[in-house]
Symmetry: C2
Subunit: 224 residues, 2 copies
DNA sequence: GATACAATCATTGTATACAAAATACAGAGG
DNA sequence: CCTCTGTATTTTGTATACAATGATTGTATC
């Protein structure tokens, strides 16, 4: 744990939630590395709280798949093997397709406008080269589709799945040679949704996620 | 909470896990009813433990969607509206189809044999009329397919989704007029899997889940 | 020098204590 | 009779204390 890990206390939330969000962020950003132990006393000291909220936050991380605990040995950040990632991506493919199919039926005019706007924003951002903005607009693009399903449970699950790929996906976005493909894929998805053509949209989404999946797998293999 | 809620202490597990499983069972069986408050002191007294493991178990239930907590107000058993159930079933449909598609590719000879055996066991059980056995063999039937995917994350998710429908599904199984349909659907699924025909298998699974979905929805509407 | 064993230390598991917020209720005032 | 308000009680949130387990280190013996 090389990081400072300071709490963000602005809102009035139970400490367990603040700790939970802090630790989750740290894990997703890579500040807490896979396999790193999550020691209660240490985290409590670092975050300036007692062990109780730390423990509860760990229980929550555990259920989200971001931490693993061995009884009497404590918790550690979940390791992601290539196989784990493939498993996640397999599910994500199916659910992202489902989401876009539903979105084709249910999307409102307003959401559609927003989707098109964000698609263009994404394209602009790839030109500026600001990685953070690129990632943000990509996330937003998919969020709009998720929201358009009107299925909050699906949204939660997809967010959770996306989270798990997060660390590696950044690498994918770093490489500018992927931009044209990404843009074309987004374009195809929008085209499908706009025409309420579930077949086209889900096909495009399938390709989009599958390409990302392939790239992420390559990145992981490169790291091993 | 009309129930006794005694702990099952046979295995050596942390109390939080024992409490978690106990509460989960109670919720799924309907002993703890939707909307019922989960008061820490009360549960702690009833289960003979302190508040700490109770709290941690509640955090876990929360992440599984079985409990909802309002800060400073406490937790209660999650209510399932018709909409919630539709949302869950929508996801389940997609993932069950995914599972059976993968199973078509990956299932081993041994698993296939087992699947056929359990299918027949299910048929036999419908004839005997033992509800518990019917439900068990139905669960097992689907479990074999889940396991055949070789994707533990998918298995976990599907189990979780299934859990959420559990309370209502029992009603579905109670009605003997559904048995011929269920048997035919299982037959079609097995047929598809056996021939590694993903299209047929996923079509059959789609119908299977969709039928159940329709029935569950009817039951809920009847209750409201 | 290697191995077995004991003592010590670090860390988790559980219980309890204390603080703060929310709720329930009773009494005063209109 | 209703409403408002202040107080008592309940309940959650957080911290701390104690117990038990597991890891580590050091020492004695072969």
């Amino acid at each position: 744990m090389t990081d400072d890990l300071t709490l963000n206390m602005n809102a009035y939330l139970p400490l367990r939630d603040v700790v939970f969000h802090t630790l989750r962020e740290a894990i997703l950003k890579g500040d807490l590395k896979p396999g790193e132990r999550l020691m209660e006393l240490q985290l409590a000291a670092k975050l300036g709280v007692s062990r109780t909220p730390i423990r509860e936050a760990i229980r929550m991380l555990e259920q989200e798949g971001l931490a693993v605990t061995m009884p009497r040995k404590g918790a550690e950040v979940a390791k992601m093997t290539l196989k784990d990632m493939e498993d996640v991506l397999e599910i994500r493919e199916a659910l992202d397709e489902l989401a876009v199919r539903i979105a084709c039926e249910k999307i409102t005019e307003e959401q559609l406008k927003k989707l098109i706007a964000v698609k263009e924003e994404f394209e602009a951002n790839t030109k500026s080269g600001d990685l953070k903005k690129i990632a943000e607009s990509d996330v937003l693009f998919h969020d709009i589709i998720y929201m358009a399903t009107g299925n909050p449970k699906l949204v939660t699950m997809l967010n959770n799945l996306r989270e798990q790929v997060y660390r590696y996906r950044v690498e994918y976005i770093k490489n500018p040679k992927n931009y044209p493909v990404l843009i074309a894929e987004h374009e195809a998805i929008v085209e499908g949704v706009k025409n309420h053509d579930a077949k086209k949209a889900s096909g495009a989404m399938h390709e989009h996620v599958a390409n990302q999946a392939a790239a992420v797998k390559e990145i992981i293999q490169g790291q091993e």
